[in-house]
Structure formats: structure tokens, C-alpha cells
């Protein structure tokens, strides 16, 4: 377990730096987490984060990469709907890095 302070508030994280309570997420928290990953957030980065949060809101789990790719293509155009595009934005992998910044928990099990 870990934690960080932001604007006078304390946030709990797990051993790998993921936010424990997704309800505590805000754009500022996302920006803070992105900074820890040494990422400069652009509009394109936020498009992915926002999609992940919408998806989580509905399905209570982070999407598989290929669902993410397909959905991004549908929403933002086919030039953005490929794995390379997502990895260019999030070099450590959209599943790992983008989900962390979006405040989503990691899936566990046979994955």
C-alpha cells in the first residue's frame, strides 16, 4: 500500500501505484498519476482516458485492448484505431499505463 498527497488530500494507492478508490479520481488526480509515468498529457491522451472511464462506468472492468482499439476507431476515426497509435501515446502499454492514469483497477485471474 502507498499513498500520495495532492491539494491537501491524501489518496491511497496499491503496491503498484494504482488508485485504490476509483471514486476519488479527478482530472487533477489523472494529471498527477500521468506525471509519475513521465507522460505529457495531450488532448489525444485524454480521449483514451475518457473512453476508459466511460467504459468502466458501464462495465465495471477495464476493456481488453482489442475492444479499446475498435471503440477508439469507431469514435475518433480509423487512423486512431490501431495498437500502434495507442502505444505511441502510452509506451508502457495502454492496459498498464492508461488504465492507471484513468484510476481503473487491474484485472486479476487467468489474464
Amino acid at each position: 500500500m502507498g499513498s500520495f498527497e495532492l491539494n491537501g488530500r491524501t489518496y491511497q494507492t496499491d503496491e503498484d501505484g494504482y488508485l485504490v478508490n476509483i471514486e476519488e479520481w479527478s482530472k487533477e488526480v489523472g494529471e498527477y498519476l500521468a506525471k509519475q509515468e513521465e507522460l505529457e498529457m495531450t488532448e489525444a491522451h485524454w480521449e483514451v482516458i475518457n473512453f476508459l472511464r466511460e467504459y468502466y462506468e458501464e462495465y465495471k472492468i477495464a476493456p481488453m485492448i482489442k475492444i479499446l482499439v475498435k471503440a477508439i476507431a469507431k469514435k475518433f476515426g480509423s487512423e486512431k484505431g490501431n495498437t500502434k497509435y495507442l502505444y505511441d501515446l502510452y509506451p508502457e502499454g495502454p492496459a498498464k499505463q492508461a488504465c492507471k492514469i484513468a484510476g481503473l483497477p487491474k484485472p486479476t485471474g487467468c489474464v
Binding site: Y59, T108, G109, C110
Partner: protein, 546 residues
């Protein structure tokens, strides 16, 4: 971990420490263990001592009477399980098991020899439950139960994948997995589990599957796969969910529904059942074949297994068909009857397509899909174009639980040879009942313990490397969802260029479906034409075509 130091990991130090094992304190090495369990997950299933803790802290926040709890727990289990009592008593420490364990081979740590791993528990048994141990202590191989012993148990009992390879070589037939299981049960009495196991257990208990997929999520995942199948074949498949009166309920590991490359195997199930016109249903309640409860305690395994049968009863199906899952089959084949059985409200499984009775599933009413499909092929019920898998040179990994726990050796091989032209066996000391574990089973497939996964998986990877170099193998087939989750990392590390697949993905590639459009890609959207050209097929290969 540093992924560029594969050559260094090969320098395994097999020299023993200077001090005896009882006097060599356990050193928690980074990358060798998982994060500890979270209080919310223990609370979800009513497990004792839920609290925030870390194995890196000195204080593990054990209950005040922890020693009494463990010793009472041991006594209860010695009375309850004859196997446990026997395995504590009969080992002569001959060492036949020592070098059979993938974790000992990969780490060189003597406490990963199955004999010594068992001795961690056996020494405490001797001290408190045998006369010689009580009288002569250390001379009789006995030691006091201390907090450090508990920490040592936690470190090493979660460094065993319960694969049972050692048991094959034990002249006394000691099942070391049973010892690990009891060790883990005792630890769980103190609230000592790992996050990677306790999380899925809580999810499965609350929502029906390890991943915690809610019913609408589970359904939408499958709908996504149906969309992919439509794109590939032009065929719209409409499976049913939670349908009362279906003849068969199908249970798959949730990893197949949710995670690559398992999803291609799930597409395989969907395509095959559609082509057969099978009267079957999926369930969003019994939406998990795997049973991480089994990695916790017998009681927890039983609680999770119960829901599959409860759902079969509720829906009024005749029998259960199970997907390519690993430990689910050990549970069903070796524990189900005494845990939740007999399932006498179901019928003896009978294939509606071939009329074959699956007599081996007479009491569990649960048929393995490899048996089901092999039987279809045997009766010539499938139209198969095996050339569609010509881009693949396939080898088969026998999953520990289906091989040693069930004896499924021939069926998957028979299927593969009927849907692929190029199939190559790994060396015989590494297959069938002597198969080497993936290194990540029994809930060890997390990321924070990647070091132990790569070290423990080394013997298996080494055998894959052999057929890669000899035959150009580029695909590792298996019938277990943990394999599909764990092997991609292992292959990338030790044998880059080898992919991982379930057997029913290969079946679906070859399956000629009624009304399908011409296939230009395989299930992974890889061009069939390009793929075929890129695979080097030698004259020798051509002779080996099945």
C-alpha cells in the same frame, strides 16, 4: 525485471548454503512473491483476520493466538485427511523428487526441492504431533513453530504451482501438491493469502467469475467475439444465456472470454457449437470454470465449485460441457464427487451428435471439450480444412492438471493432428505425465513475481526452444487458460517468436462452416496467404504431414 538478461539467469547456483536448512533464514527476494491479500477480499468470503498488511513489513499483524490457531488447524486436518497424515509420516527423504521440480531447476534454491518444501511443514508436525519430535527436537527433524516459520511457509507455499510433477517420481506416491494445499489452508487461517488469489476468489464468490465480470459485461464480451466471427465468416451466431431447458450448459474459464489469446479459443467454442447446432447455453452466474478457491482451501474450492452445479440444476440441463481450463478439471475429476457430489440430478453425458456415452464422466456429468471434439472428429462429423493452419508449426504443452490430474493425453493431440498439418512433440521427459509446468499455475500468474515465473517456467521453455530450433515450431498449443495467460510472457522471454494458442482456436481455423464466406485470414486476422508464404516448409516437413 530486466528482460535483457536471459543469459545470466541460466547461471543457476546449485551449491547448498553453508548452514543447515533450519538455520538458513528465509530471504524474501524481489520478484519471487506476490502482493499480500487485501482485507476487502477476505471479508467478502468471511475469511479470518482481514487487515492491511505487507509481506515486506516485519509485523504481519497475526492474531494474538496465531500459534494455537495453526496447531489446532493442523490437528483438525490430520484427523480429517488421511492423505495429509500419511504424507507427513512416510517420506524417507530419498530425494527422487528434488530435481524434478521446475522451481528447483530454475532457482537452485534447496527449499524449492519438493522434499524440503514439505519438510518446512513436516518439521512442525514432528515437533507437536510425534513422540520422537517432542522428545528429541532437532535431532528428530523437529522445530519450533515461530513467526519466522510462518513467513517461510508463505514464501515457499506460494512458490509451488501444485503441478504434481514431483509426485510422478515419488516411490511412495506422496502428492506434494496436497502438502502445499494444507500449508496454504493453515496460512489462510491467519489471513495470509496473496492478492492475486484472494482477489479472484472474492470476485468469483460475488459475481461468478475471477475477473468480476458482471452479467451484462460477460454478455457484451461474447457479443464482441460474435462480431469478430461475423467479420471473419459472414455468419451471425446467436448463442443463448441462462436459458432454462437447454440440453447442455457450457462452462469456460473467464480468461477465455476476456483475455487474449484465450478469446480466440472462445471464438472457437462459439463457432463449433453453432456449426453443430448444439442445444446449449452459457451462464452469466456460473461464468467461471477455474477455481482459485482451490488455491486457498478445500472449503473455499467447494464453495465456488457448488455454483456450477447449482446453475445446472436451476436451468434443468442434462449435463455439463467444460472448456479448455486447467485446474477446473482437477477439481471436477478428483474432488467434485466428495465436495459437492454426486450430481445425480443430471443425466449421464451423451453426445447428441454422435451418440457416444462419456462413461468416464458418469458421476460428475461434466465432459471435457477435448473429449467431445475428438469424438466428433472420430465420427467424421466435422468438415475440416487443415491447410488453413499451414502457417503454424505446432507443439503441444500438456497442462499439469489435465494430464496428471485427469490423464487427457491423446484427445488434444488427435484433434491437433486433424486440424493442422505440422505437429511436433517436445522431448518425452517433458510431456504427458512428465510435463513441465508453465511456472505460473495455482495463482502465481501475477506480474510482481515475474522473476520466479521466468525461472520456474525455464524447463518448459527450454523444451519449446528445442523444437523451435529443430523443427521451426512457432506455436505452443495447450488446453488451459492459465497457460494462455502465462505463456506469452514466458515465450517472449526465453523463446521469442513462439505464439500461444488454445486447441479450439486451431479447430475453428480449420472448421469449414455451412454458408461461410471465403476465409482470407485466420481468427487472429492474419492473412492466410501471407502467413503461408512466410513459413518455411522443408521436404522433411512435407513427409511429416499428417
Amino acid at each position: 525485471m530486466d528482460t535483457k538478461r536471459a543469459d545470466k539467469t541460466l547461471n543457476i547456483d546449485y551449491r547448498f548454503p553453508k548452514t543447515g536448512w533450519m538455520d538458513t533464514p528465509v530471504e524474501f527476494k524481489q520478484g519471487m512473491f506476490c502482493h499480500g491479500s487485501k482485507p476487502k477480499d477476505l471479508e467478502a468470503v468471511g475469511f479470518p483476520n482481514p487487515r492491511e498488511w505487507s509481506s515486506k513489513d516485519k509485523d504481519w499483524k497475526l492474531p494474538a493466538n496465531w500459534k494455537e490457531i495453526v496447531l489446532n488447524g493442523m490437528k483438525e486436518r490430520l484427523d480429517k485427511y488421511r492423505s495429509f497424515k500419511l504424507f507427513m509420516d512416510i517420506c524417507v527423504r530419498c530425494g527422487a523428487c528434488a530435481d524434478k521440480c521446475h522451481f528447483y531447476i530454475g532457482t537452485g534454491d534447496p527449499k524449492n526441492m519438493p522434499v524440503l518444501r514439505a519438510e518446512l511443514l513436516r518439521s512442525v508436525y514432528r515437533r507437536y504431533f510425534t513422540l520422537s519430535g517432542k522428545l528429541f527436537g532437532k535431532t528428530a527433524g523437529a522445530r519450533e513453530l515461530t513467526e519466522d516459520v510462518i513467513k517461510e511457509w508463505w514464501y515457499y507455499f506460494y512458490q509451488c504451482t501444485e503441478c504434481r510433477r514431483c509426485s510422478v517420481f515419488c516411490p511412495y506416491g506422496i502428492d506434494t501438491a496436497e502438502i502445499t494445499m494444507i500449508g496454504r489452508e493453515l496460512l489462510n487461517l491467519l489471513g495470509l493469502n496473496t492478492n492475486w488469489i484472494a482477489g479472484p476468489v472474492a470476485n468469483c464468490y460475488k459475481r461468478g467469475n475471477h475477473l468480476g465480470l458482471e452479467p451484462h459485461t460477460y454478455k457484451s464480451q461474447i457479443e464482441f467475439l460474435l462480431d469478430e466471427i461475423d467479420t471473419l465468416t459472414g455468419i451471425k451466431i446467436e448463442p443463448t444465456f441462462n436459458r432454462k431447458g437447454a440440453e447442455i450448459i457450457f462452462i469456460a474459464p473467464s480468461g477465455d472470454v476476456f483475455a487474449d489469446p484465450g478469446t480466440y479459443t472462445a471464438m472457437g467454442y462459439l463457432m463449433l457449437f453453432h456449426e453443430l447446432g448444439l442445444d446449449y447455453t452459457w451462464s452469466t452466474y456460473a461464468s467461471e470454470g477455474g477455481n482459485f478457491g482451490f488455491f486457498t482451501s478445500n472449503e473455499m474450492g467447494k464453495r465456488l465449485n457448488a455454483k456450477i452445479y447449482a446453475e445446472a440444476k436451476r436451468l434443468g440441463v442434462k449435463w455439463i460441457l467444460g472448456g479448455e481450463c486447467g485446474h477446473m478439471w482437477r477439481v471436477i475429476n478428483q474432488y467434485m464427487d466428495t465436495w459437492n457430489g454426486p450430481a445425480d440430478f443430471l443425466e449421464e453425458p451423451l453426445s447428441p451428435i454422435t451418440g457416444t456415452k462419456f462413461k468416464n464422466s458418469k458421476t460428475t456429468k461434466f465432459v471435457h471439450i477435448a473429449e467431445f471434439t475428438a469424438d466428433l472428429i472420430r465420427h467424421n462429423k466435422l468438415k475440416l480444412d487443415k491447410n488453413r493452419n499451414d502457417n503454424l508449426k505446432v507443439t503441444f504443452h500438456d497442462s499439469c492438471n489435465t494430464s496428471r490430474g485427469m490423464g487427457i493425453f491423446e484427445e488434444p493431440r488427435y484433434i491437433i493432428k486433424n486440424v493442422c498439418n505440422y505437429f511436433y512433440e517436445m522431448p518425452e521427459d517433458t510431456t504427458r505425465e512428465k510435463t513441465f509446468c508453465c511456472g505460473s499455475g495455482s495463482g502465481l500468474n501475477a506480474t510482481e513475481n515475474m522473476e520466479i515465473r521466468m525461472q520456474g517456467g525455464f524447463p518448459r521453455a527450454n523444451a519449446v526452444k528445442y523444437v523451435r530450433e529443430k523443427n521451426g515450431v512457432n506455436m505452443l498449443a495447450n488446453i488451459c487458460a492459465i497457460d494462455r495467460a502465462a505463456f506469452p510472457a514466458l515465450m517472449d522471454y526465453w523463446v521469442p517468436g513462439v505464439g500461444v494458442t488454445g486447441v479450439h482456436e486451431l479447430v475453428a481455423n480449420a472448421l469449414v462452416m455451412n454458408g461461410e464466406k471465403e476465409r482470407t485470414t485466420n481468427l487472429r486476422s492474419e492473412s492466410l496467404k501471407l502467413a503461408t508464404e512466410s513459413t518455411e516448409v522443408t521436404e522433411k516437413d512435407k513427409k511429416q504431414r499428417h
